[in-house]
């Protein structure tokens, strides 16, 4: 674990919070409708994840063991309130479309899980890298899922305002409804986790 590169890459693939640890699935399922939402959520999540890891790593020697979980929750909740207020002020449209999933970052098991499993035991730099890796892993899954859903729902991909890639054809009503609603999120995430498992089995890193 002392190798900095390993700590960083751990979250991106080997212990990917969504595909391998299967945490924080609620927000992944709900937010993956458009790429814009996915990137917005990714940024909000990364902010909280990285800062909470750093802060918890800094205070790990001061906090008494018995009350560590409530302390972590307060740290994470304060960071989430900061993100929520910043988003409401500078990106009101995005804030509205992400809705209650911004306050729900507090109960995202990835953040508390890493606080407990990693940041409370490791130094500041390692915790920072771990937070960065986890954020990239989480955002990458969110982006892949939302790319598929947005593409099939609208026939085009809009990254930001005018940055748009289009095939020219509007998909049929069936595609639009299916990929915009809940069932597609569950099914696609299931398939994605299955594919990740296949790759891991091939590489032999994961036992049956």
């Amino acid at each position: 674990m002392n190798n900095k590169k390993d700590v960083f890459l751990n979250g991106v693939w080997k212990e990917n919070p969504v595909l391998v640890s299967l945490l924080g699935l609620c927000s992944v399922l709900a937010i993956s409708t458009t790429i814009e939402n996915a990137l917005g959520m990714g940024i909000a999540f990364s902010f909280v994840m990285i800062l909470s890891n750093v802060i918890i790593s800094l205070i790990r020697k001061i906090v008494p063991n018995e009350i560590r979980i409530p302390v972590y929750i307060v740290v994470v909740a304060s960071l989430v309130v900061i993100v929520e207020m910043l988003m409401a002020a500078f990106l009101p449209a995005l804030h509205k479309s992400l809705g209650i999933f911004i306050p729900l970052i507090v109960v995202n098991c990835i953040i508390l899980g890493r606080a407990e499993a990693f940041a409370s035991k490791n130094g500041v730099l390692d915790s920072l890298l771990d937070g960065l890796g986890m954020s990239i892993g989480y955002t990458a899954v969110l982006v892949v899922l939302s790319l598929v859903r947005e593409f099939f729902a609208s026939g085009s991909i809009t990254v930001w305002k005018d940055l748009r890639l289009s095939l020219g054809d509007e998909p049929g009503a069936f595609f639009t409804t299916f990929f915009n609603t809940a069932p597609s999120a569950f099914i696609l995430l299931g398939v994605l986790i299955g594919i990740a498992n296949i790759i891991n089995f091939r590489k032999g890193t994961k036992k049956e």
Binding site: L25, C26, V74, S78, V81, I100, P103, G190, N197, F201
Partner: protein, 192 residues
């Protein structure tokens, strides 16, 4: 009265917390392997969601709004929920040891169930009165129990089915949940 029934039906079936709002998916996948544990989790969730949403609504309406502290709601709600879960746990232990044995192990898990904070946050809105907040919270949690129980009966069968190795466990469970969500979304076409 009619409005309340519509609200309750919508929250239980059409806009189900799990299949429509995506709240509480982690426990949904985690404790749905056996029918008994799904039932225990569902009942514990009904207790906690109903009580914590009522408390959150009261705090929101009578403290946060008058003192203009709405931005503090996330911190306050999560602390309220965490302590409430502790209190409910002690209370159940005192009044009914048999109920405690059935629900005890699920209660600590509920603090990080996003359905609890989710419903509390949804209810903390000027459009809800005390009565509608109560009905919405109760109906949402009944919807959670309903779906997690149905899902656990399916999953007991899936566990024994011949699924490709890579799709065993969570992936196939997610795909099943997707098909369930498809069926539930059709209730939205009902005219009520």
């Amino acid at each position: 009265m009619r409005d309340l029934i519509t609200l309750a039906f919508t929250a239980i079936v059409i806009e189900n917390v799990l299949l429509y709002r995506f709240l509480g998916v982690c426990p949904f996948l985690g404790v749905s392997r056996k029918r008994s544990s799904a039932l225990g989790m569902g009942l514990a969730v009904i207790f906690v969601i109903t009580i914590s949403s009522i408390v959150s609504w009261l705090l929101y309406t009578y403290i946060l709004v008058p003192f203009e502290m709405v931005y503090m709601r996330t911190i306050i709600f999560i602390l309220v929920i965490a302590s409430l879960v502790q209190i409910i746990e002690m209370f159940i232990k005192k009044i009914s040891p048999s109920l405690y044995r059935a629900l005890g192990i699920y209660l600590p898990l509920i603090t990080t169930n996003c359905a609890v904070l989710g419903v509390a946050t949804l209810v903390a809105d000027p459009s809800y009165t005390f009565l509608t907040a109560f009905v919405f919270a109760l109906a949402s949690s009944i919807g959670f129990l309903f779906v997690i129980y149905l899902f656990s009966t399916l999953r007991e069968k899936i566990e024994r089915a011949d699924v490709p190795k890579a799709f065993k466990g969570v992936p196939i469970a997610l795909i099943t949940a997707g098909i369930m969500a498809m069926i539930f979304s059709r209730f939205g076409a009902l005219n009520i």
